[in-house]
Symmetry: C2
Subunit: 231 residues, 2 copies
């Protein structure tokens, strides 16, 4: 039987995988102990995932089943492999992990994007750049080249946004408690995106968030750390 | 056997109970089906809870056991009554509820305080007012009387802070899923504080957060709604 296939957002160098949502699923698959074949995909490769009925990754092809959207893929993996380690630790853990999804998307991603997109842009495949520039500049209300001048304020805004995570990680090693679950994968995806995109230091080394990120880089046999950081 | 006793922050009128942390515990006790005797307490009544070894409420006296701090009281109730409905739905649910605690304290409480404190202040017992004014004005960097002029910006900031909760409640009826658990009690405590303190409308009626708050007011036999809203 062939491995599940994950369409995974890539840069000009196909080894560069930077989607925060795809990283969530990479870690979720590792958590379940499921090997996967990842297929590098670019924003403009709409035809390659047309079979999924939509145009974004992650897309998981799992035997006969095609699933898109990271939250739906996580639910699919949990339902399909109930005998493997749980991603959620029960219904309440699943429900609250969904809060972490929305918190990450609404509070962390916009801050991280403004910080790392200037360094990510030249790493994109050339055909992706026009789409990427237009969509991000519309979201930011600024040219990509104007973003670096704002970094001091944006780093301070990110530090404020991270306050509840910082307080939590002062009292427990993972968001999910004593070991990582999908809520950790969700938040780690955002940091892995930043790490692959930019050498910028987003979190002070003494911050409990930095220590957690190091633990997550080591988790699952060092899956996260195996992806080279931007230099 | 006598009922557990909860020291519960009160206004000049002892029927006015406004502490967000005490409301969490009122709901947690109701969730567990445990009747409680609440004892009205004021900020300046340090002597009345001196037996707890500290000076803040909630303090729960449960038989021979004295517990303070809402997070510790919730853990105590869960450990003491494992046969009653769970507050957390397992270890992962407990760990992630702690994130909701920090998010509520760091992101919601400061915004709600700036909005409702001007209306809460005249409802406080006279001996509490000097302490309350000094501590809150130090935190805000403003006089209480200067806060109402900022309401338009603060309401907009609260709406932004609520974005992840709003998105979550568009897809599920409670933070904890299909029924409320302690994570819901945590966030509801903040809204109940606002409701008791001030007639200000903090959330638009069409916001999914408002519909959730109505469900929470009705939960546990209408425990939250039985406390009169500020007029």
């Amino acid at each position: 039987m062939s491995l599940p296939r994950l369409y995974d957002l890539a840069g000009a160098d196909p080894a560069i995988r930077f989607s925060p949502y795809c990283w969530r699923i990479r870690l979720a698959l590792a958590h379940k102990g499921i090997a996967v074949e990842t297929i590098p995909w670019r924003f403009t490769d709409k035809a390659a995932i047309g079979f999924s009925g939509q145009g974004k990754v992650p897309v998981l092809v799992d035997g006969e089943t095609v699933v898109f959207d990271s939250e739906r893929i996580a639910d699919h993996l949990e339902a399909r492999h109930p005998d493997r380690p749980s991603l959620f630790g029960g219904a309440a853990g699943r429900a609250l992990a969904r809060f972490l999804h929305h918190w990450t998307v609404q509070m962390l991603h916009p801050e991280i994007a403004r910080l790392v997109v200037p360094d990510l842009f030249p790493r994109l495949a050339e055909p992706d750049r026009a789409y990427f520039r237009a969509s991000r500049e519309a979201a930011f209300g600024l040219c990509i080249e104007e973003l670096p001048a704002q970094r001091p304020e944006r780093l301070a805004a990110l530090a404020r946004a991270l306050a509840p995570l910082r307080a939590l990680l002062e009292t427990q090693p993972y968001l999910s408690g004593t070991a990582p679950l999908y809520a950790d994968h969700i938040v780690f995806g955002a940091f892995q995106w930043a790490r692959v995109a930019s050498p910028l230091v987003l979190v002070a080394p003494e911050d409990p968030v930095a220590a957690w990120r190091e633990r997550m880089l080591d988790a699952y046999g060092g899956l996260g750390r195996a992806m080279a950081a931007a230099a």
